[in-house]
Symmetry: C2
Subunit: 344 residues, 2 copies
């Protein structure tokens, strides 16, 4: 049978109260008794049961992490960075993939609450914030990561998506692209990226007049491929593509190739996230890098400080993206543009 605090107490000829004190290093205990108890604990290989102490109001040292999809490189990298930091503090992560389904989000939220997790980190869609608001009201520590919720008072570590879009567009404009196709799923952060994107165009006295529609479905390779093919086959095909995540960008590259064109010679492609796969595609992807490690570390620190009860005021930490230039972008050599320039 498992060894309990009673076994230790009996073996050390003290009360369980005393043992508890040496475990938690609280109250005052004599040096000798302390040593004695410690010794017995080691000898019996005693492992305090966390369920029991959790019941008495102490923490469970576990944090719930809700993400859309663990198999998506961006989220698995993010989860890993959060996990590492969590372990540094002796915390574990319960990870749940929600597939962007509100139903699952709510289900996992409720389930993990029953398991008395100390707090939640949300990287998921959460278009429906009712349950999240409830948690906040009940004083359950909740922090958001990689997902800006501007009109909601909650601790957040996010990326400056506006700047991300701006960066992507600026880079492309500098390379002489004026007709740029955008591929994105309709979520808040992408709307921001699009705003930043347009802002950059505007500053160059360019206008975003292209046909545009959000993809439906998730941000994966296929939709990126599909949408790019559509743009390329449509009238007024773009000379560059800005995809709002690396997976979509991969799809874009594949579509370009299938049309018998080349990246970046004929079409430039910019991605977003800078995950492992950006370095793996051919050509290597120019992409807007999210500081994934940094984000993971920051939310974890944030949630920990909330759990500890420090920092009662809400805050939003915005990290800045940076452009990583690889080989999927190049000067625009498109004839139309050349002609236009020559006609000036």
């Amino acid at each position: 049978m498992k060894v309990t605090i009673y076994d230790v107490a009996k073996e050390a000829n003290v009360s369980i109260a005393t043992v508890s004190k040496v475990i938690n290093n609280t109250g005052r205990i004599g040096e000798k008794t302390k040593r004695k108890v410690l010794e017995v604990m080691k000898q019996l290989d005693y492992q305090p049961n966390m369920m029991a102490s959790a019941l008495m109001g102490k923490q469970t040292k576990t944090i719930g992490l809700l993400i859309p999809d663990l198999a998506n490189p961006f989220f698995s990298e993010l989860a890993r960075s959060i996990e590492d930091r969590a372990h540094e503090f002796g915390y574990n992560l319960v990870i749940c993939s929600t597939d962007y389904q509100t139903e699952k989000e709510n289900k996992y939220l409720a389930l993990l609450k029953r398991k008395s997790v100390d707090g939640f980190i949300l990287a998921s869609g959460f278009e429906d914030l009712n349950k999240v608001e409830e948690l906040v009201k009940e004083d359950v520590p909740v922090a958001i990561v990689a997902r800006d919720l501007p009109m909601f008072s909650i601790n957040t570590v996010a990326l400056d998506d506006f700047m991300g879009g701006y960066l992507a567009a600026s880079h492309l404009i500098e390379l002489g692209h004026q007709n740029i196709g955008v591929i994105a799923r309709d979520v808040w952060s992408n709307r921001e990226r699009l705003r930043g994107f347009k802002q950059a165009l505007e500053e160059s006295n360019l206008e975003f007049t292209r046909e545009f529609e959000y993809i439906n479905g998730i941000s994966h390779v296929e939709p990126g491929k599909f949408m790019t093919a559509k743009y390329l086959k449509g009238k007024n095909p773009p000379t560059a593509i800005f995809a709002c995540n690396d997976l979509l960008a991969i799809g874009a590259i594949q579509a370009v190739k299938e049309q018998g064109m080349r990246v970046p010679d004929d079409i430039s492609v910019v991605g977003f996230d800078n995950t492992l796969i950006a370095t793996i595609v051919e050509p290597p992807l120019t992409t807007v890098a999210q500081p994934i490690q940094h984000m993971g570390r920051e939310v974890l620190d944030l949630i920990i400080s909330m759990i500890k009860g420090e920092k009662k005021e809400k805050m939003r930490l915005t990290l800045l993206p940076s452009l990583v230039t690889r080989n999927s972008t190049a000067k625009n050599r498109n004839k139309d543009l050349k002609e236009k320039l020559e006609n000036l």
Copy 2:
């Protein structure tokens, strides 16, 4: 404050024992009382505290999953498939990345034990099995996945690695390759793959006489690149590379390109795992596919049945790999071979 079983009992004018019975659907309760209690539970939005019931010996409905690295596509895909199946049964996963460090493995094992997880799924290195053996002795449900431990009596869901290596070699041999470089980390499963690989050579009256050494470090892009470059620059360069995971294969492809050669025209490359990235590289990777979804599902089912106390006898389930042919492999056009053939 949180609503407890007492609140429900009071509100429904019954004892907590009765409430407990309706929650768990045990014992015999009158229809009316049952309905009444159910109603009150709903009304108060009562959520039973799992810590408390876990303390009483019931399950925590959480499973510990130890993997080497959550950011590695193979493991994140595996984790995802296990997670999905777990959720079907109402279980959660606590995921820990061990980085192949025995130290971390043992640390997480102990930590999760204190948290009373119902069982462990191990996909990690575990060269040191002492702690695992202890768990088994203590009757803690433990299952191994994606990692064969042949001389150890423990429930396992694994791949037929021997066959995987055999498949890869056969494919390459069929394409006319005789001088094949192998890249692998020195772990059990790779030793098996190598065995299968050699077996196929042998059956074709070929011999594996190449210089060979296991990589040191982890199975990631860099070592694959490094080792391939080494082979290519060495004497008697191979016409094909068999890399024991997709990441290594990516590295191989990159190295080939850097040497100014082409895949598959000059060098063929076969990977292992068939993760997302195999479809993303250029050229798309021919690779030995592991049935990741299937494996995840099977271990989960296995551990559940262990938790439930069914199936006391140990078993090893071996899943079969299959070769997915894409464009990183082609007929050997190497001069040497041609000459050889002509000299016949």
